[in-house]
């Protein structure tokens, strides 16, 4: 049986705490990391250099996991989506690169609102660019969100928190995570035998008695 509710909770409840001071400004570390990622992304896209382009988005995942801010999450998703487009089309609209450069410069000058506008505009332009591509682009963005979500989960953030951060469903995220190696390198303190023994107790199964 579980322990009962602690006195500490009762005290806190009576004290009525408050949470959720929403940040209006960007964290300095997030800003610097995004600039580094954007620089790399811009150079790779200008050179149409696909090597390691897919990994650039992962470089911002530390930040996205710790700060869980909309900026690093959206850059991770946009970077991955651009990589997928270049991979498929072998080309990139120069306008996208111009937007990235503008966004980078705004961020450099601490113009966060304008940076956000540029990234939002870029996302819209990518999505609207080609009607034929539209469905594929939607798929790419969805895939990017799930893929970046699995990375954040891999960094130790819970499933529900990760899903909330990327505004995706746990159904999608679980299905994707299951196909990765995220779980396979996690040390376990409780071994399988102990777990099964406890579960058998719950269901009054003293021993393995009946196979199929």
């Amino acid at each position: 049986m579980f322990s009962t509710i602690s006195e500490e909770f009762i005290k806190m409840k009576n004290n009525k705490n408050c949470m959720g001071d929403e940040k209006q400004i960007i964290e300095e570390k997030v800003r610097c990391d995004i600039i580094v990622v954007l620089d790399k992304l811009i150079i790779k896209l200008q050179r149409k250099d696909i090597n390691d382009l897919g990994n650039i988005s992962n470089e911002i995942i530390h930040c996205a996991s710790v700060f869980q801010d909309v900026h690093s999450v959206s850059i991770a998703v946009v970077a991955y989506a651009l990589y997928k487009i270049v991979e498929r089309e072998d080309n990139i609209d120069p306008q996208f690169i111009t937007r990235l450069i503008k966004a980078r410069n705004y961020l450099q000058k601490y113009k966060i609102e304008r940076f956000n506008k540029e990234i939002n505009q870029l996302t819209k332009e990518i999505t609207k660019k080609d009607r034929q591509l539209n469905l594929y682009i939607k798929h790419v963005f969805n895939e990017a969100e799930i893929k970046k979500g699995s990375k954040i989960y891999d960094h130790g953030i819970s499933l529900a928190q990760t899903a909330k951060l990327l505004n995706i469903s746990q159904w999608e995220l679980m299905k994707y995570i299951g196909k990765t190696k995220v779980i396979d390198f996690l040390p376990e303190k409780i071994d399988v035998k102990q777990r099964l023994q406890f579960t058998r107790l719950l269901f009054r199964q003293s021993t393995v008695n009946n196979k199929v």
Binding site: F9, M19, G156, I157, S169, Y176, K189
Partner: protein
């Protein structure tokens, strides 16, 4: 109350694997309640019903509420305590001077509910909440390795978190699947005439791998060990 409190993960995992039906016989055998919280209901029913994706899956879960296999448990104290746990845990660990928001309200509601109803265990497939209950120090080491930075721990809050989470027992959908196997619930999959493969092994492997591949936090070597233990 004799109860198991379910997070959304195991419901999702069992649904995707077409194994939700094991809940009925398991509940009978358990002789207690299978409970979910309002947030979990939102994730497995309300949210997917409002989108195209996973609508059908949500419709498969819905009858399990209608026939009371799964019950929603709710009160204000559970929500207040869940919020307290959320604030406590999400202010325990810092990286780059920032509190890491490790967990979500929905997961804390599962723990809170389990403590209020004095449940036997929580059923959860996701890794972070389970690790915070079973091995919080290990999870800190994992965070440090993954984030590549030192994690600063508020020791007072950390001790308080351990105090709040102590004695909680956790099982995963994988354990429910194994118990179902031991109870002979997969008998309908057998075909006496089919001799090409060892069906006993195939069924166990199929079920366990299906659950793992749909997101349950179980390692490959754990699955292999379970198969060896069950079939020896």
């Amino acid at each position: 109350m004799k109860a198991l409190v379910f997070d959304s993960g195991p419901i999702i995992s069992l649904t995707i694997n077409n194994l939700l039906w094991i809940l009925d016989p398991l509940k009978k055998k358990f002789n207690g309640e299978f409970i979910i919280t309002p947030s979990v209901y939102g994730e497995v029913i309300t949210q997917p019903l409002s989108t195209k994706k996973y609508k059908l899956e949500a419709l498969q879960v819905l009858p399990y509420f209608n026939n009371n296999t799964l019950d929603i448990y709710f009160n204000k104290s559970i929500q207040d305590y869940a919020q307290y746990l959320l604030d406590l845990i999400n202010s325990c660990f810092k990286a780059f001077g920032n509190n890491i928001q490790l967990v979500h309200f929905a997961e804390m509601e599962v723990i809170s509910c389990a403590k209020f109803v004095k449940a036997e265990a929580i059923v959860i497939d996701e890794r972070t909440t389970r690790k915070l209950i079973e091995d919080p120090e290990g999870h800190v080491r994992y965070l440090e390795r993954k984030l590549g930075t030192k994690i600063t721990i508020d020791m007072e809050k950390f001790q308080q978190m351990k105090e709040e989470l102590k004695n909680l027992r956790v099982i995963r959908s994988i354990e429910l699947a194994v118990i179902s196997f031991e109870l002979g619930l997969y008998k309908e999959f057998t075909d006496a005439k089919f001799k090409q493969v060892d069906l006993n092994k195939a069924i166990l492997e199929g079920v366990l791998w299906g659950i793992k591949l749909n997101g349950c936090s179980v390692r490959e070597d754990e699955i292999n060990e379970i198969i060896n233990l069950e079939l020896k």
